[in-house]
């Protein structure tokens, strides 16, 4: 199979292996007839994922991370599938499973045992609800198909770019780069061949607002991409859709087809000398591909390794050509700004964070789902709206963002205070901070691309070090080492993944040092392994188990 792929694609055999081993959803060995992946996001865990996984593994008689001997089923964990408002969630042969419980697991196991094809499973297994609970500037507004393009052509493309600048729109993926500036840079490049890429690789645990935009606002998103193409002079666009959202692939293709039929994609769009079309490219399970240059590498058929910059993608992106990469929400906002003008958007939000932000709210609240607020809203107000009481803390912007405690709820959502790509996970007082940090730390170690030393080795070491402390084997020195390691990874990593992978540890260590200290042993040093345990083989060989055959550890 590897050879066949290499031959058909005219690439070295090793490039096929490189890619297959890199992406979670690709395998070098056959998986079961049914491949089940259960989302291991903290939000799924809070909804009882672990018990459910144990139940499922028991029922199927398969160990997690393996394929059953008869080849019927494979079972494994996967990173957040973006169903945090309707978990525990999972994937079966790439299709989403939502709101799982033991009742559903029983049915599921029965269906698999009877070898019923996934296409014939009851529809309610796969139902994904939008759960929009609060609409604001973007979600309330509806524009007609082609309206943004008409407005832009009528106003003039340069003038429309100026409107976008007046709007003060900043990238909605979280980094907050000024959208108009990005488009202007790409437009000013000498190279005539240019690209537009929509980043729908929504992988930050706790984020699912793009899922909803892709499902219910796809026209606006594609319109925003087309608008960008008209302004910067691009002929081709890509929607990079995360593999977990494969269930949206067909319906998005249909939207593209409709747009082609309406003359909104293809040749001479809007009667202008403007040709543009969009292709959907599926991801295959790699968080790092949300980083724009890693995404471009992935588009080009390689492992998703973030590039060195400069040059930035706006000057040398896809195939080395100028490329604008923006988030789904950014394109939706841009389309609406083209219709309503910059002031419409700039009138909302704060001076540095104009407009609104769509949040994905999950965790301990009565109504998880989608909430849109003008920037500048206080965390307390959001918590009130979604029905969160007894709040211990909130993870803003996902694991790579910031953890805030309940003494900080008057802080505001804005680039100048708490920036976010949209993830908003609430924890109540029943939760253990260290469980949360452990989940996040494991996540980053799993998702590190492995390119640079501090992230590749450091995230794996951090996981070991954190586990050592968690398991009660840590001493004061271990906490110092944990912090030292974290600072090193933050300072020296090649890209944002490594630089932010340590945020869960650093932000909680700063706020709850006593929680970490309570895990420590009152000794000066404890080795990273069980000294006495490692002598077990020697004791067996010597047939001894007397007190002298045991070692006390760490001078207890």
């Amino acid at each position: 199979m590897l050879e066949l792929l290499a031959e058909k694609l005219h690439i070295p055999r090793t490039q096929v292996i490189s890619v297959v081993e890199f992406y979670t959803f690709l395998h070098t060995r056959p998986q079961g007839e049914y491949e089940i992946l259960i989302s291991d996001s903290i939000t799924d865990q809070m909804l009882g994922k672990q018990q459910l996984m144990d139940y499922l593994a028991g029922k199927l008689q398969v160990e997690v991370g393996t394929t059953r001997k008869d080849g019927l089923v494979s079972l494994d964990n996967t990173s957040c599938t973006g169903m945090c408002d309707q978990g525990p969630a999972g994937l079966v042969n790439g299709q989403v499973l939502t709101s799982l419980d033991t009742g559903k697991v029983d049915v599921l196991v029965d269906l698999m045992t009877r070898r019923v094809p996934v296409t014939e499973w009851p529809a309610d297994f796969f139902q994904v609800r939008d759960n929009i609970h609060r609409s604001g500037l973007l979600l309330n507004d509806s524009i007609g198909k082609g309206e943004a393009l008409q407005s832009a052509f009528a106003r003039g493309l340069d003038e429309t770019l100026q409107e976008l600048e007046n709007a003060g729109l900043r990238g909605r993926g979280g980094a907050g780069f000024k959208t108009a500036m990005k488009w202007r840079f790409a437009k000013q490049e000498q190279e005539p061949e240019r690209y537009v890429v929509c980043n729908a690789d929504e992988g930050e645990p706790g984020t699912f607002k793009d899922r909803v935009l892709l499902n219910s606002y796809a026209h606006e998103m594609f319109e925003g991409m087309t608008l960008c193409a008209a302004i910067i002079g691009a002929g081709k666009g890509f929607l990079y859709l995360r593999g977990e959202y494969q269930y949206l692939y067909e319906q998005l293709q249909q939207v593209l087809q409709q747009r082609r039929q309406s003359g909104l994609l293809g040749a001479n769009i809007g009667g202008q000398d403007f040709n543009f079309d969009i292709e959907i490219h599926l991801g295959a399970g790699a968080y790092i591909c949300g980083e724009e240059s890693a995404l471009i590498e992935s588009l080009e058929g390689r492992r998703g390794i973030p590039r060195n910059r400069s040059p930035y993608p706006v000057s040398q992106g896809y195939l080395g050509k100028p490329t604008v990469v923006n988030n789904v929400e950014t394109f939706v906002a841009a389309a609406k700004i083209a219709v309503h003008g910059g002031d419409w958007f700039a009138a909302r939000g704060t001076s540095q964070s104009r407009g609104s932000k769509i949040l994905s709210i999950s965790g301990d609240c009565r109504q998880p789902g989608i909430y849109e607020y003008d920037f500048g809203v206080s965390i307390a107000e959001i918590l009130g709206d979604c029905g969160a009481d007894d709040v211990f803390g909130v993870q803003i912007g996902g694991p790579s963002g910031t953890f805030i405690g309940n003494a900080e709820l008057e802080r505001r959502l804005a680039f100048e205070d708490l920036a976010t790509g949209g993830s908003f996970i609430i924890f109540d007082n029943s939760r253990n901070v260290l469980d949360i940090v452990q989940n996040f730390t494991d996540f980053f170690a799993h998702e590190s691309c492995g390119f640079c030393t501090p992230c590749r080795v450091g995230t794996a070491l951090l996981k070991k070090q954190f586990d050592k402390i968690r398991q009660g084997h840590g001493s004061a020195g271990d906490l110092v080492e944990l912090e030292k390691l974290s600072r090193l990874i933050k300072n020296t990593s090649h890209c944002g993944l490594g630089q932010t992978a340590v945020n869960p540890i650093l932000t909680t260590l700063e706020r709850y040092p006593e929680l970490y200290q309570s895990q420590l042993k009152d000794i000066s040093f404890e080795p990273g392994f069980d000294l006495d345990g490692s002598l077990e083989t020697a004791r067996k060989l010597a047939r001894r188990n007397d007190p002298a055959a045991h070692l006390a550890q760490g001078g207890e």
Partner: protein
Amino acid sequence: MNLKAAARLGGRIGHFSIDGVRLPFREGQTIMAAAMEAGVYIPHLCYNPEFTPHGSCRLCVVRSNGRHLAACTTPAAEGLEVESHTDELQEQRRELLQMLFVEGNHVCPACEKSGACQLQAVAYYCGMLAPELTYFYPQRTVDASHPDIAIDYNRCILCELCVRASREADGKNVFSIADRGIHAHLQINSSTGKLRDSDLEVTDKAAHVCPTGAILPRNLGYNIPIGKRPYDQKPISLAGDVADHEESS
């Protein structure tokens, strides 16, 4: 713009400083390239001026305006003030080196590259005495299938110099990296994955750029006795990169 190409072309001369020492640079040159030319040593493993800068080992990370930057991928700029040989950065380098040592299986006393190994030499230079981090002890193999070249994967630090040399200098693509995170590993482009079945030849550049003892031309191991090797004589800051000494080892 391709920094290497720009540097070769010459261009306007500017000045910047490393640890207070004023250095010239040609427009487009990286901090590393300009420093090397001026004889100022910045520790590095994945950098080799002959190939596209990689920026992966992170040993060359320096500080400027409060930001940490990889010297090998950051262009020098007029008036830029760079800190490199500070206590903080040397401490950082020691920890990065420790990471490389615990990630693989590096047994210096038993390694034929000892004394001519850049990883070992940089560790000495930075004052790393012994790894204090938890060892991974990965299970890795040795590929001795090729008559002229051997690969000991235990010593690979994923600097991708062989990957780049094979692609950029030899036009062959013999090496590449697969998998991700801590599982990332070097692989050989051949039907069996073995070096014997690849088109690597001992005269290839890729066989002579490894900064550690991972890729070794065979039958030369002890031509230069221990004690007389480049880094037995001088620290790496004076002796330079191991690739420059390859012919003599």
